[in-house]
C-alpha cells in the first residue's frame, strides 16, 4: 500500500468499524476465559446477581476495538507515517502492516487497564478485575489478521478509487 496519513486513518476506521466490529461481535461469546472451574467459553459461564459474563465480556472486547481505533489514529498512524518518510518509495508494505500487530496489541492491552481511558470503567488495578490474557491475545490477533486481509484485498472491490487515493475513501 501507498497510504497518506488521512488514508491510513480512514482505512483503519473503516476496516475496524466493519469487519473488525462484526468479527468482535461474533467471536466474543466464544472466547475462552479462565474461571474457578477451569477454562470455559464465555456463554457457558453462569451468571451471578449483578454479573452477566456475556455483557461483561462485550464491554471489554468492544472497548479494545474502540481503543485500537482511536489510539491508532492518534498515535500509531502518525508514527507509521513518519517512519514511512525514510522509505524512498513512500510505501508501506503489507508485511509492515501485519507486523504492527505486536506494538498495537501491547498498547491496547495496557490502555484497557487505564480506567480513565476505558469507557466501560470496570477495569483497573483497584477494581480487582483484569483482562483475560489468552482470550485477549486470540481476539486481538484474529481481528488484526481479518482486518489486514480486508484492507489488502476486498476493500478494492467496493472502492475502485481507494488504491489510487492514498487509502482515502472520501
Amino acid at each position: 500500500m501507498t497510504p497518506v496519513l488521512l488514508g491510513r486513518i480512514q482505512t483503519r476506521l473503516f476496516v475496524l468499524g466493519t469487519v473488525g466490529l462484526l468479527w468482535t461481535i461474533v467471536i466474543t461469546p466464544f472466547l475462552l476465559i479462565s474461571t474457578n472451574d477451569g477454562l470455559k467459553l464465555v456463554f457457558t459461564i453462569d451468571s451471578a446477581p449483578g454479573f452477566n459474563p456475556i455483557a461483561q465480556t462485550y464491554k471489554l472486547t468492544l472497548a479494545a476495538l474502540l481503543i485500537t481505533a482511536v489510539f491508532g489514529c492518534l498515535f500509531w498512524e502518525p508514527v507509521y507515517h513518519f517512519l514511512m518518510q525514510f522509505r524512498w518509495e513512500k510505501d508501506w508494505p503489507a508485511f509492515f502492516h501485519l507486523l504492527s500487530v505486536f506494538p498495537e496489541c501491547l498498547s491496547t492491552f495496557l490502555l484497557l487497564h487505564v480506567a480513565v481511558l476505558n469507557p466501560f470503567g470496570d477495569i483497573g488495578p483497584d477494581k480487582e478485575q483484569y483482562v483475560p490474557v489468552l482470550a485477549y491475545l486470540f481476539l486481538f490477533f484474529s481481528t488484526w489478521i481479518i482486518t489486514w486481509l480486508a484492507a489488502n484485498g476486498p476493500m478494492k472491490i467496493f472502492f475502485v478509487r481507494w488504491r489510487f487515493f492514498g487509502g482515502r475513501i472520501i
Binding site: T2, G7, D91, F95, L98, I157, F164
Partner: protein, 531 residues
Amino acid sequence: MSDVNSTISIRSSELSDPMPDPAGPTEPGDLNAQLIDTDIWTDEMVQAAGIPIVDVPLVSVGGGIGSYVLANHLRIAGMPTSHMRILTNLDVPWQTYEYLTQVSQVPRKERLRSDAQSMPDNMWGFPSYAFREAWAEKKIGPIFNVCTEPIFRDYYTPKAGQVFEAMEREAARMSYFDMTVKGQVRMVRRRYGGGYFTILTPPQGQSATKRVAFRSTYVHVSVGYPGVKFLPDLQEYRSTYDDYVRVVNAYEPHEQVYEELKRRPGLVMIRGGGIVASRVLQRLIDDRDQYGLQTQILHVFRTYVTGSHGPSIFLRRKGGDGWAYQGFNWPKSCWGGHYKFKFEKLEGEARRDFYKVLDGTNTPIRKNWQEQLARGRREGWYRTYVGAVDSVVPGAEGQVVTKVKASDGSLLEVPAHFIIDCTGLESDVREHRLYADLFDHSGAQRNVLGRLAVGRNFEVEGTQSGPGTMYAAGTMTLGSYFAGVDTFLGLQYAAVRIMDDLAERGFIKKMGPVRSSTQWLKWARNKELPK
C-alpha cells in the same frame, strides 16, 4: 529529428500513407488542401471532400493496452459497445507490447516488471496476479511472496503470458472486438459546433473511400511510443559504416547476436543501466551457463552508482555495482500515494524539478541477477566501464571499438564483437504524425518534459471543443500531473479518472460501491457484459 533512420519502428506508429497531393485528391474521399490547412472543420467541409462520416459518441485512437483498459472501465460502468469505436492498426491490444517485451528478452514465460495488482484485465486489482497464479497452479509461494515483499522476497511480478491470457479472456467478456475498427489514424481535428473529427485510413480495399471520418463528442488518444531512438554515437556508426549486424538495439529483433555467440566465443558490450540491460545480461549469462559458452561481457555505465544516493535521508534510493535499484519504474507512491498527491499539486518548473529528483535509469533487485553478475565479476567475464562514449569505430578482425572518455579525460578503447544498446531512448513526441498534427492544428501543448500536456483528468490541454473533450493516456503524457503513465497501473489510473470525468459529463453513470461490487462478482464469474 526528421531522419527516419534514427528511429526504430515499433509498429505502433507506422506512417504508411503519403501526404496528400496538394493539387487535389487522387482517390475518392481523400483529404484535400482545405481540410489539411484548416484547424476547425465544419461538417460541410468533410462532406464536400466526399469523406463518409460515421457518428459515435467516443473514439479511442490506438487500440493498444491504453484503449483496452479505458474500454474495460467504461463497459463495466455500463456503456454499450455501440457508444465507442477503437481505431487501431493492431490485431490484438497487447500486440505492440508483446512484440517489445519479446525482443527485449521477456518472452511469455518470463516475468514482467509490473506489480501484482497492476492488471489491465481487472479494474479492481483484486484478486491480484499473485493470487491467481497461486490458485491456478495450486501453490502458496506467490501469496507468501506478496505478503512479505519487498522485505524478505523480491517483488512478485506476473509472467507476461499470464497477463496476455487474462486480457484475452476479458476482451471476450466485454466484446472488445465489436468496438474495433481497423486502419491508420491520420489526424484528429476539432469540429465547428463541438466535438471532433478523427480521420481513419482503412486498409486498402476495405472501404469505398480512401478516408473515413469519425464524428464524436469525445476522443481518447492512446497511441504509445512514437518509436525508440538509438544512442547518437551508435546511430552515427550504423549509418556511416552501414553495419546493422554488430551494433543492435535491444528493442529490435537481435536474436542473431545470441546465435552467433553460440557458434564462437565473443565479446559483447552492453550500453545502459535499466531493466532491459538487466534482461539482456540475464539472457547472455543464461546462454553462457546453459551452453557452456565463453561470452565476455563489457558493460558501459554513463553514471556508475556505488550505493544509496539522493539529496536527503528522506530521498535516498538504493544502488550498487553501477546500478540504481527500484522495484518499478517510479517509486511506488507515484501511483496512489504521497508522490502522486505531490505531483498533482506541482506546476511548471517545480514539477519538472521534482521529476528530475525521482527520475534516473534504474532496475529492480532480483536475486538471480545479483547472483549472476557477482559470479561474472568474480570469474572475470563481466567487466564494467564508466564514462561517456566519445565515438564508435570499426576495429580489427570484425570488431567494433568504443572510445570511452573517463571523468579524468583519458580515452579508453574497448573492442567488442557486438554492441547492444539497452538505453531505450524514446523519440520526440512529434515523431508521431498524429501528435504533431495535434500540436500544429488542435491547440495541444507540450508539458514541462516536452511531451503532451494533459490535465489531472487526462484531458489534453488546449483542445477543448464545445462540449467535447479529448483525453490522452500513456507514455506520451509523461511530464503532466501523474508520473506512472507508461505502466499497466498508470493506464488503469488514467482510465478511472477519464471514466469519472465522462460520468460528470453525463456519458455514463458514476460508479459507486454497489455497481463496483456487483460488477466484480460478474467479472469473477466471467459473465459476459451486455452489449
